[in-house]
């Protein structure tokens, strides 16, 4: 099969799906589902890779796939019992197969050092099994015939098709036509066996015989080729005209009489097994990689669609506002219609976001492999468990999570989980446990990486931070603040360069990546027991419910999801603390008030605190606080426009939106503002700037 560039793309795309199915099946097998359905699925995936790869002459890939396939075949037909060792090798071979596909895609040479050991392991299971019968191909062409080599001999072909000839879709007329194309041909038909009455005639009975004389042939091979499929469905004689018996006749070209090879039989048995399992397979089919039920879509189209839907929602908002200002009489119905419009827009928006949302499962599966490799490289024994694989996240978020998650998993295995002996000495299981979980929580996705390892060594972290000048020697730091030092740029606890963290990539890169996604990372750790990292990401990147506020004449937006309550404070509720700070007393508790205008670098307002509105903020990772703003207006759905791409990060701002009147309103990031109280900001306080910022221009 010849193939060109676009075919390669199709092939590699298909390989992605096949590897996904393969990984899914292998994971199920590892978790204990060793039923024939699951093993079959894995077998089929490898088989399909092999089948398609053959077209591209990817010999290493085909060869490896073939051996894998054979082992899987033996397993599914139960010639090989599935034990831990075989399971492990199968997992590894899944990884190698994926690698071979990658090297083929990148057109790089095969990494034999990696491939050969696994190949050898696979072959060890096949041991003394008889050689496959695969090399035997029945081909009329390969039959040697020492006939005269000169051109111009006439051959006589006698053939009588039997009933099966006809029912197998063959047509004598076509055979004859093909023979006629080989050279000048004379055809005679023998009708002698036809019955006299038409009603006694059955077309299938094979009552007709033909004899053909074909001139000008160098050998009988072209003739035999024409009969390649039907040699046993007819009585066939091919001989040279006027020859003597010195040259052997090719009578019925028969299949050699070899006993059916055991593997072939079992392959047939396997196939029979396939058919009876069909129902079970249909029932169990979760439709995850069925070509017929999914669409491949150009991501750019989805992006354009999402933008358009965003505009639609703004447009609806604009119309709504204008209508309100227009003071039209009898608008009750109109507003009802507008509400419908709003609902429909929302539906479309959710639908489109859902298109882009994908389960995190493939990402988590990749992490399984990363964890395996990391454990091998560091000599740790680790089990990675995943939870919530079906949780759906926007596609772009998944792509950008891959690197941070990889870092964190490697970190957890390298630095978190202790060596097996140390663990046993500490009374823990030899095998460490690493849990990767995803769940949705009120407008956000939470991803957790939890290990039961050594936990964070806070005194040491603090020490290192001091030695690197990240904190003052005498700074008073809470546990959380110490934990977050891990994310400071330039911080790295690795005293030795290990196999994994050789490049000294620190957790600050992880933090940047997560923040760029509009998310947060929180750490929770107990020394000696383990550490949990929680990543919180906004659920949709595009639309958010916001509170429109006035801050020093500027219109801005605060996400509703973080506002607990809005308060117009009275003097009695307020207390001064320190020089510049005010506390709000609410329900018996004291909550710090943050002057948002000041945080945003505005000229200090002259308004009295009692003349302002306080927004009580509560989020996962910061204690309660209240943001002081000048006025609040209405609540509105806003489309979030990121400024990342064009500008960069602005501390305290998570994006911008375009209001109905076309003006831009910046969106406040309450958590970042609240965290402005943290030590990191304090130590970076220079030139009167409270928080560091990142700007692109």
């Amino acid at each position: 099969m010849t193939a060109d560039m676009t075919m390669r793309d199709v092939f590699f795309e298909e390989c992605e799906d096949l590897i996904a199915a393969l990984t899914e099946g292998l994971t199920a097998m590892r978790d204990g589902s060793t039923d024939s359905e699951t093993v079959n699925a894995v077998f089929r995936a490898v088989h399909s890779v092999k089948g398609a790869a053959g077209a591209f002459a990817l010999d290493d890939l085909v060869g490896f796939a073939h051996t894998s396939e054979t082992v899987l075949d033996h397993v599914r037909s139960q010639r090989l019992a599935l034990d831990d060792r075989i399971l492990h090798v199968l997992q590894r071979s899944g990884d190698i197969l994926a690698d071979l596909i990658e090297t083929a895609r990148e057109e790089l040479p095969t990494n034999s050092a990696q491939v050969d050991p696994v190949l050898a392991d696979l072959q060890s299971f096949l041991g003394d099994a008889p050689a496959e019968a695969e090399d035997f191909t029945f081909e009329a062409l390969t039959l040697a015939f020492d006939g005269p080599a000169d051109a111009g001999s006439t051959y006589v072909v006698d053939f009588t098709p039997n009933a099966a000839f006809y029912t197998s879709g063959n047509d004598p007329v076509l055979i004859i036509a093909a023979l006629q194309s080989l050279g000048t041909t004379r055809v005679t038909v023998d009708l002698s066996r036809l019955p006299t009455g038409l009603d006694a005639l059955h077309w299938q009975d094979g009552l007709l015989s033909w004899q053909l004389e074909i001139e000008g042939l160098g050998s009988d091979l072209p003739i035999l080729e024409v009969f390649e499929f039907v040699d046993d469905l007819c009585a066939l004689q091919v001989k040279l005209l006027d020859e003597d018996t010195a040259v052997p006749d090719i009578a019925t070209a028969t299949a050699p009489d070899s006993p059916v090879e055991q593997d072939g039989m079992d392959a047939a048995a396997g196939m029979a097994g396939d058919m009876s399992d069909q129902k079970a397979r249909n029932a169990a089919d979760k439709g995850s990689t069925r070509a017929a039920s999914s669409l491949r879509v150009n991501p750019e189209r989805i992006d354009r669609l999402i933008n358009a839907v965003g505009e639609l929602i703004i447009n609806q908002s604009v119309i709504s506002q204008r209508l309100q200002h227009a003071n039209l009489p009898n608008t009750a119905e109109l507003f009802a219609d507008l509400d419908d419009y709003k609902l429909l827009a929302r539906e479309i928006q959710e639908g489109v976001m859902a298109i882009r949302a994908q389960p995190v499962k493939p990402l988590f599966q990749r992490m399984l492999r990363i964890a395996r490799e990391a454990a091998d490289a560091t000599g740790k024994v680790v089990e990675l468990i995943t939870e919530g694989e079906a949780t759906e996240v926007d596609k772009t978020v998944i792509e950008r999570l891959a690197d941070p998650l990889t870092h964190m998993i490697r970190n957890a295995i390298d630095h978190g989980i202790e060596a097996p002996d140390l663990r046993t000495a500490a009374g823990k299981n030899r095998q460490g446990r690493l849990r990767l979980a995803a769940r949705q929580r009120s407008g956000s996705i939470v991803i957790e990486i939890a290990d039961d390892g050594a936990g964070l060594n806070r005194p040491r972290i603090r020490e290192i931070a001091v030695s690197k000048g990240l904190v003052a020697e005498d700074a008073q730091l809470s546990e959380t603040e110490i934990d977050h030092l891990l994310f400071a740029p330039g911080f790295s606890t690795a005293k030795e360069v290990t196999n994994l963290s050789g490049r000294g990539v620190g957790m600050d890169v992880v933090k940047t990546a997560i923040t760029a996604l509009g998310g947060r990372v929180a750490i929770s750790s107990q020394f000696g027991q383990g550490t949990t990292f929680s990543i919180t990401l906004p659920l949709t990147l595009a639309v958010m419910d916001g509170m429109i506020i006035n801050l020093g004449g500027q219109t801005m937006v605060v996400p509703i999801s973080s506002i607990v309550e809005t308060i117009r404070p009275k003097d009695a509720d307020l207390s001064q603390i320190g020089l510049n700070n005010t506390l709000l007393r609410i329900r018996g508790e004291y909550v710090p008030i943050i002057d948002l205008a000041e945080r945003m670098g505005q000229v200090a307002t002259l308004r009295d605190m009692t003349d302002r509105v306080l927004l009580l903020i509560q989020t996962d990772s910061v204690p309660q606080c209240a943001l002081a703003v000048d006025d609040i207006f209405d609540q509105r759905q806003v489309v979030v426009k990121s400024m990342q791409g064009n500008y960069g990060e602005i501390s305290g701002i998570s994006g911008a939106t375009i209001l109905g009147d076309g003006k831009i309103a910046l969106i406040i990031d309450p958590e970042a503002v609240a965290q402005g109280n943290s030590v990191y900001a304090v130590t970076n306080s220079q030139n009167g700037r409270d928080v560091s910022y990142v700007a692109a221009c």
Partner: protein, 155 residues
Amino acid sequence: MSQLAELQKSERLEFVTLVAGGQNFCIEITQIREIRRWTPVTVLPHSPDHVLGVINLRGAVIPIIDLAAKLGFAKIMPTERHVIIIIAVEDRIIGLLVESVSEILGVDSHTVRETPRGPEDTTTRAILGIIPLGDDMTKIISLSALLAPASQVAA
């Protein structure tokens, strides 16, 4: 290959000439998306002097930079008569505030000269070459040198 050499690969080049900080500059035309009149910006908190704010460009939020200030000259006090040049560089869309835009200048690439060596300052770092124009000359702005990479912690 230097940016200048890259430019000179084409035979004919087109530039938009402009005035900023009282001097003549030009920008290669393929980097320019659009030219607009000045419109009020939304201020960004904690932004450097040369960043004026952001504007709404058909639904996208675009930062506007004072080109003169960025090059080290005095800030421009923008009015309706000033012009914003929307440029695209490395996937980022940004607006440059300039005093005025003169014309589209088409030249054979060999007329483009290297910047004469002299003491380096903020301005010369952002110039990738010059084009003689009668008695005067216009300086070609290197947009990538002008704009810092997307993430850089400020001191």
